[in-house]
């Protein structure tokens, strides 16, 4: 399995506070993704990165920002957390655009915004 870790694994915070989730990979994969998982919605893409300092928005990017200053780290920031951002967040990586490349997932972070 790809070495993908997420921190923290669980977090409870209050509405209006900033929150940063970290994804760290040891596989030197080029592409990294942040998803949120909610009942009835499956996994929805928040932001993704196709290289250091190269990022783009996904389908549910409002209220989130990302940064990738080095290959191994991809940070997701909630500037001012809201209760609607309570969710499980997954980071994923992909080695490259070679045909058939699957995504590898981190263990997830459960975020609760009170």
């Amino acid at each position: 399995d790809a070495g993908i870790t997420q921190s923290p694994r669980h977090k409870v915070t209050e509405t209006g506070t900033p929150v940063t989730l970290r994804c760290h990979q040891t596989e030197n994969h080029r592409y990294m993704y942040w998803y949120r998982q909610d009942p009835g919605h499956g996994l929805r893409l928040i932001h993704y990165s196709y290289g250091v300092k190269d990022t783009d928005k996904g389908e549910v990017s409002d209220g989130y920002s990302v940064s990738r200053s080095k290959t191994e780290d991809f940070l997701l920031t909630l500037e001012s957390a809201t209760s609607s951002q309570t969710s499980v967040y997954f980071c994923a990586t992909r080695p490259g655009l070679a045909a058939g490349n699957e995504q590898f997932f981190g263990p997830g972070t459960r975020l609760t915004v009170l």
Binding site: G42, Y50, G58, V88, E102, Q103, F105
Partner: protein, 115 residues
Amino acid sequence: AQTVTQSQPEMSVQEAETVTLSCTYDTSESNYYLFWYKQPPSRQMILVIRQEAYKQQNATENRFSVNFQKAAKSFSLKISDSQLGDTAMYFCAFTVTSGTYKYIFGTGTRLKVLA
């Protein structure tokens, strides 16, 4: 827009029996990849099987196989000899082979294997 639809929110199957999970998708692309991921209660996402659209032969991985119907845009997963450890959420996913780097996921099917 590209979409993935899983119309069965929940299913159950008796241990040792066979079950089929449905997935349909919509795309105008001609070459793409389809995946089934398993998410057990541990929450870890695990790749079960993948299919390349240009290959007519259906993919198989041990007890897992797919029925890929490209014209119908259908990609169902068959689990044979179901085991208790197959109890999980199953997600169908799709990605194209050029242009975008994105994956589209279905909403998932929760499968329970009964003893």
